[in-house]
């Protein structure tokens, strides 16, 4: 791709700010890889508006203060036209102000999250609680039972998600036996496991996160929860998290996400991007939904569509176009922004862990509404 039609205007700059180091570096690196892949693909097919894309990647290091400094580099030094990134909600909160308010730039947040982010110029391309619960919880009630326990890590995502989940559970005739919050790094769950077992809970709708989730599932398993027919459910579980426990300890765990790798068997487009990713980035960092890799892909493609439509690159025009952007193909299927809502409709899949792999057991009939803003 040697000559660009509008090369004179210089490249369009895309900023990625994500956790390249720190505890969730596996996710951040996957996101960065996806971005490299997508940008390369766009450049190979002639760039955007006849201009090449240039990628700027900065580390957020799971440390908000480092992140803000680095994001400022993207905005103020590199003068990027758009920033995509941030994985945790706290990271999004920390960097959105420097990007959107002080930095007057467009921000795309790719991760599944608790919703309620309605800042102008901030677009979310990961699943919301509605998308993850609306179809999933009725399935759980049917395939698990009515008695739910909501053990959770104590931060905003589980709190907000649980409010939504509880509503769905109760309106579908289920019952929440208890909802309980733990410090984020709690690793001993004996009291919780005991309550789950002695209350004869059917479904553990888990929002405990690593490092606690591994020991938690193990303790549940050892207490005979699975043996007695209990079902685990966890909406952030993807291919990355399967290895936290031995397969037998999470047999039958159900998850609901916008993409699972098994989809490559039925969906040629998924097979294509998965193969392209693995070819470019063999190794540890998986192309998976829970680490925001799919959201990153979707976000970049939606933005590409918006830029094409707008025909220019200034923030307001692109935002206006992004407001209703659509892509026909993406991980897990098509996606489109809900106009005025800055959130994204997408297909959702329910999968169950069997012997260390997922099997798709249910899928949404169409695109699921994020129901945000």
């Amino acid at each position: 791709p040697a000559d660009w039609a509008n090369a004179a205007e210089g490249p369009i700059k895309v900023g990625i700010a994500t956790d390249l180091t720190g505890p969730i570096a596996y996710a951040g690196n996957a996101d960065a890889n996806v971005a490299k892949m997508v940008i390369k693909e766009i450049n190979n097919s002639g760039g955007l508006l006849g201009r090449p894309l240039e990628l700027y990647i900065e580390d957020t290091a799971s440390n908000e203060s480092v992140a803000v400094g680095n994001v400022r580099k993207l905005i103020q030094r590199d003068k990027v036209d758009m920033v995509l990134g941030g994985i945790t909600s706290s990271m999004r909160n920390a960097i959105k102000d420097p990007i959107v308010a002080r930095g007057k730039t467009l921000y795309i947040y790719p991760q599944l999250y608790e919703g309620k982010e309605c800042t102008p110029y901030l677009f979310c391309t990961g699943p919301t609680p509605a998308q993850q619960c609306d179809e999933f919880i009725p399935w759980l009630i049917k395939n698990g039972g009515k008695k739910f326990a909501l053990p959770s890590a104590n931060y905003v995502w589980p709190h907000t998600l649980n409010v939504y989940a509880r509503k769905v559970i109760e309106s579908n005739g289920g019952e929440v036996v208890f909802e309980e919050y733990y410090p984020l790094d709690q690793v001993d769950f004996s009291a919780t496991v005991n309550r789950i077992v002695s209350n004869k809970v059917d479904v553990v709708f888990n929002t405990v996160i690593p490092p606690g989730v591994g020991p938690f599932f193990k303790q549940l398993y050892e207490a005979g929860f699975l043996k007695n027919g209990g079902r685990l459910a966890c909406v952030y579980y993807d291919e990355n998290t399967l290895n936290i426990n031995q397969a037998s300890e999470i047999e039958g765990l159900a998850s609901c996400l916008d993409y699972f790798k098994v989809l490559t068997k039925e969906n040629p487009f998924d097979a294509k991007i998965q193969a392209a990713y693995e070819k470019d980035f063999p190794g540890n960092f998986l192309f998976a939904a829970g680490s925001a890799a799919t959201g990153t892909y979707r976000g970049l493609k939606l933005w590409e569509a918006a830029v094409k439509e707008a025909g220019k690159i200034d923030r307001d025009s692109v935002a206006a176009a992004l407001d209703h952007a659509k892509i026909a193909e993406g991980p897990g299927g098509p996606a489109e922004m809900v106009p005025g809502k800055r959130h994204c409709k997408m297909k959702m899949y329910t999968a169950v862990a069997k012997g260390g792999n997922y099997e798709i057991v249910a899928r949404s009939s169409g695109l699921v509404d994020p129901k945000e803003c």
């Binding site: 390249l20 180091t21 990647i57 900065e58 580390d59 290091a61 440390n63 908000e64 203060s65 480092v66 803000v68 400094g69 680095n70 400022r72 580099k73 905005i75 103020q76 030094r77 945790t88 909600s89 706290s90 909160n93 920390a94 959105k96 102000d97 420097p98 308010a101 002080r102 104590n154 931060y155 905003v156 709190h159 919050y181 410090p183 984020l184």
Partner: protein, 363 residues
């Protein structure tokens, strides 16, 4: 081996190691010592001039970065005062920094108070109050508290505060408080940039001079004695514990001032800001630069932040490892900090008879 042990000696009693070259490097000739004594003001001057000129030569985003670094240097100063001068190991200095940050963030969020003349004193006061409470608890009492107790006590305080902040919904939990409105003065809003930079630099210079005055006074000498042997000082008739509590509170107040500036400059506060991560960071600044010299704290903050900024740009995947290695090397080979490249031991510890000595030696 004794050689190496002598080199790390800092506040330990003389007997432990085999030799004492660190403490004894003094016996050089008077003339040499007197000449060496001029180094500190020179270093201070150079740093000040560099800081004044920085925004003129730096790109915008670097000025913003430099502002942040200066705020952190102010924070480092607070820790240096407490540890470097009074020998109180505050491994939880972020508690005062962060709680002030949270305090002013709440003022801005819930009460719409952003006036600089209200928020900065408020932040300082919060830092002071927390330091008085924690210091009172840890430092006062029948028995003099051991360095290790105080360090782990403050560490635990900061750790507990971190967990509290994470768990408390009102404070935003894990997410902290984002999008804090800018600090204001009448209609003017301090947004990131040169104005904010010079404001912060001005504050740093004033606080620095105040600290300098304090540690050079007889009070500073009492602190130095305290650092060496608290019990001995008490037997002279000094109210040792009160002196410690006072300096701890002053440190807390400065940390609070820094914390409130930081909150407004960065525009958000989050639990790490009161927690162990930031607490350790400030210790590293001071150790890196050289504890027990005020300028060392400033230099340390600038260098550690600058180097990590640079490393994270150039060695994106392994920069924490490199940073760790650098730290280790400095601690191993320059246990008195980078400042010890230019500053002799005697000048670092200081001597309160200096002026007189020079006149005495004059022909």
């Amino acid at each position: 081996m004794p050689k190496a042990m002598g080199a790390v000696k800092q506040t330990i009693p003389a007997e432990i190691g085999g030799d004492m070259d660190a403490a004894v490097g003094s016996s050089g000739t008077a003339a040499k010592a007197a000449a060496g004594r001029k180094v500190l003001p020179i270093v201070e001057g150079v740093v000040l001039v560099a800081a004044l000129l920085a925004p003129l030569v730096l790109q915008d985003y670097l000025t913003v970065f430099a502002t942040r670094v200066i705020i952190l240097a102010l924070f480092a100063l607070s820790f240096d005062l407490v540890w470097g001068y009074a020998g109180i190991m505050s491994f939880g200095q972020a508690l005062f920094f962060g709680s002030a940050g949270y305090g002013v963030a709440l003022l801005a969020r819930d009460l719409d108070i952003t006036n600089i003349f209200l928020v900065l004193p408020a932040g300082t006061l919060i830092g002071l109050t927390f330091a008085l409470l924690l210091g009172g608890f840890l430092l006062l009492g029948r028995h003099p508290s051991s360095v290790i107790f105080v360090s782990l006590g403050t560490l635990t305080g900061s750790y507990a505060a971190d967990r509290l902040a994470r768990g408390w919904y009102y404070l935003g939990g894990q997410n902290g408080i984002p999008s804090i409105a800018p600090m204001s003065l009448g209609g003017y809003e301090f947004s990131e940039g040169p104005a904010f930079y010079y404001l912060v630099l001005g504050i740093l210079v004033v606080v620095y001079l105040l600290c300098r005055f304090l540690v050079r006074s007889q009070f500073g000498l009492a602190l130095a004695g305290l650092r060496e042997n608290e019990q001995r000082i008490a037997f002279f008739g000094y109210k040792a514990q009160h002196l410690k509590a006072i300096i701890f509170a002053i440190g807390g107040a400065i940390a609070g001032l820094a914390g409130s500036l930081y909150a407004f400059h960065e525009g958000f506060v989050w639990p790490n800001m009161v927690g162990v991560v930031v607490s350790t960071q400030v210790v590293l600044y001071v150790l890196f630069g050289g504890s027990g010299t005020l300028i060392g704290a400033v230099i340390g903050a600038v260098i550690v932040e600058g180097v990590s900024f640079w490393l994270s740009d150039n060695y994106r995947d392994i920069w924490p490892i490199i940073l760790g290695l650098l730290l280790l090397l400095v601690i191993l080979f320059r246990p008195l900090g980078l400042i010890s490249f230019v500053l002799g031991e005697r000048e670092r510890v200081g001597s309160f008879g200096v002026k007189i000595k020079e006149t005495r030696n004059a022909p």
